[in-house]
Symmetry: C2
Subunit: 207 residues, 2 copies
């Protein structure tokens, strides 16, 4: 009785619409006024709900910006959790990086329209940067667990964590350094791929 699966009722669809309204309203305001200058009261008013209701949709102001991070994480984890037969650890990880860099362009017009703004916010607003790093950190722990499960004979938990940490850490810093150097998004993606390759080959190849 309680466990209706689709739950296509009025209730559920209304909740989805309110959620979208909050996201759209917030990002619109962030773009115009800036993140820190926009108050929750303003966001709620713009989405026609009370301030209190905001918190039944998002646990915090920061989390609204990362509204799709959970879905992304699940997709990525599914990727490394099911290695192709005979696939090496390195190949799975490279496949993961390739897929992630690809997704940026395939996320649908909806999310895509938000991405430039979100990238800008994350790079300039300290609290969003911190939250982004935390979410990335959590996703790495999940990836490490999935990878360890995918290669139970070759990897233990700690080794899988080291591998994921190395690959994600390298691409993360390479992308940020590239962007900070004034690079374009294309150059940043190229930097990510090269960083991944370097990590697979080993830092000793730098000498």
């Amino acid at each position: 009785m309680q466990y209706s699966f689709a739950m296509a009722g009025l209730r559920e669809s209304k909740k989805q619409r309110t959620r979208q309204a909050l996201i759209e309203a917030a990002l619109r305001l962030f773009e115009v006024k800036g993140y820190e200058e926009t108050t929750l009261a303003e966001i709620a008013a713009e989405a026609d709900v009370s301030t209190r209701t905001f918190f039944s949709y998002f646990p915090s102001k920061e989390d609204l910006v990362f509204y799709d991070s959970a879905a992304r994480m699940e997709r990525t984890i599914a990727l490394v959790g099911e290695p192709l037969p005979g696939e090496t650890v390195g190949a799975v990880l490279l496949r993961m990086v390739a897929a992630s860099t690809q997704w940026a362009a395939e996320d649908g017009a909806y999310a895509m329209a938000h991405n430039p703004l979100r990238l800008h916010l994350i790079m300039t607003v300290p609290s969003l940067q911190a939250r982004a790093l935390q979410l990335l950190f959590d996703s790495q722990l999940g990836l490490a667990r999935a990878l360890a499960d995918g290669f139970p004979d070759r990897l233990n938990r700690t080794r899988a964590a080291a591998a994921v940490g190395a690959l994600v850490g390298a691409t993360k810093l390479a992308v940020v350094a590239s962007l900070a150097d004034g690079g374009s998004l294309e150059e940043a993606i190229k930097a990510a791929r090269e960083a991944a390759a370097l990590t697979i080959d080993g830092l000793h190849t730098l000498d």
Copy 2:
């Protein structure tokens, strides 16, 4: 006249004492009551200053916990910024990891007494975890810059960033995974060294 260098005056030493008092008071309360349950008003009262004065010593409640992170970062950056003649990039980075893991035990009785509590706080309090990740991220950007300057012929900014990100990312996640698996601090340090070695050798050695 204004630019006295040592500034061993009453003013300066009193400020140092107040700073220490705030740190001691806060950590004492955090240990007893927990971080989130301790208010700034309580910390300030315990250190005999006003709440307002707290903020002329630390920019936020979180930053008090990381009172020595700036000094650590400077030490580490000095390390990679001055490679020994003929030293390889990999060797410098390994030296960095070795020194960092060593310092944990050499930080003097003062900081050492706080470290177990701080580690516990960082791993359990979300806002502290986020701040720790952010500080680590910033330090990596600094390290990458220093490394690039140390090897201007072999590394550009992005490549240096990738190298630092890989190494720090690998050790960070390996340490956390090891601790999360119930490992001791010694095991975590061992995991860090192995993760560093793996990153130098390359992830392809996993297969």
